[in-house]
Amino acid sequence: MSADLAVTAERQTTWRRPPFILNAWLRWSLIVGAFAYLVLGIGSLEVNWARVVQGLERGYLFVKAFLSPDFVSRWDDIQRGFIESLTMTVTSTAVGVLLSIPVAIGAATNLAPRWIYLFCRGFIAISRTLNEIIVAILLVAMFGFGPFAGFLTLTFATIGFMAKLLAEDIEEIDPDQLDALRATGATFWQGLDFGVLTQVLPRLIGLSMYRLDINFRESAVIGIVGAGGVGDTLNTAMDRYEYGSAAAVILVIITIVMVAEYTSGLLRKRIQ
């Protein structure tokens, strides 16, 4: 057989990977088209250079103010804002994660019947399409200013986020483990406990930690549209041109987010 090969095969010494798009004409027109679009797009931007220079001056003033943060004069407001934000973060993460588990199970093709699957995927799609700020504006209009609207907003966003990622994880579990449990005569719920939960638990905890620090950051943002928390404090400070207090708020946010990120990373490493 090897003798046959030696006779028929030419002595070829070059080889190139086949291109992703085989049709050369299509390939080149796509490349040229994309480049032309980019050039035209940049060309269509109107830049007012005088305004840019003005803006740089204002920015310089901002930065200068931020270099001398004022923690003292508005400390009570800052403290209240943070406690509100932290409460909002923890409660919305806890409730959101709990509610996301059934939605994730429903949104996993390997566990849920078709109609439940479609329903849960629909819910996730809605939750993920609507940005937190839009939801917050809507809920502030419904339930008034304050942290309750913020809590609802973050819970809603958490369900969509967690359910989507968790459902993908559930779909990738080792099906043999579940089959083995079904073969013992286990019920669906027992299979869920022994066969599914055990496989996705590390990821569930890791995602919850991650979501906790996302929720804290978001709580600062949605406060700006009236959903309570530290964002409210920040907004008020900016409105009053108290850049020192605003700087203090931002510094505290940065510290807390860094601490949250560090501890969640540590925790995730521990459970692996």
């Binding site: 089959d179 449990l181 073969a183 013992t184 019920t187 022994f194």
Partner: protein, 274 residues
Amino acid sequence: MLAIEGLTKRYSTGDLALKGVTLTVAAGEVLGLIGPSGAGKSTLIRCVNRLVEPTSGTIRLDGVDLAALRGARLRAARRQIGMIFQEYALVERLTVMENLLSGRLGYTGFWASWFRRFPATDILRAYELLSRVGLAGMENKRADALSGGQRQRVGIARALMQDPKLLLVDEPTASLDPKTSRQIMRLILDLCRERGLAAIVNIHDVVLATEFLPRIVGLRAGEVVFDGPAAEVDRAVLTRIYGDEDWTAITQRLASQRERRDRDFETELEAEAA
């Protein structure tokens, strides 16, 4: 005890995996199911405990048609059928003890199993089986910390926790080295003999199959093409099951296996006569 009749399975892709398989297994009988990859061996045993839904046909276990059961009655029937998997299919992140106790799920309520509060008799049984399969003292190890052979022992113990009448064994040795494979086959066969269990063993390795399993069933493209004692497996039978190939090496080993067995039998007779 187990009577399969006219079992047909057509997958939703249109593939006909089983074409009217008829097969009976007596109580305490152990048989080896051999055949090329894709012949339907796995599908056949998975139809028995309904991990795969049969398209038509009946599967009677002591007279009850498993193919017609649903819900709680299906789960009750599954308790009588233990299954052992090629890749062990243990719950990797749980302890050996939890894996053994998971064999009792069919007998345990949800909350009892959620809090891992199993009856004392189950725990006693688990400890007994653990030492029977040679894993005494390993109860608190996590399944993913064990070697392949140890995992398969846990898999065997879990199946026996169910107190089954029938074992379905799907390629128990395909992921193991030759020595461990033989130990595992011997363990399964010994346990079946001790407890009077019937078993259907899917197996790729023909030499291993004929050595350990007295009855061989050959499956080819979803049909039974051979059903007889292991001693009758020869060149013609292998060709019928797997198709043309140079079978010399395997048939020679089968022949020497038989000679050895006959010799052992004669020495046994002589010893008895003396």
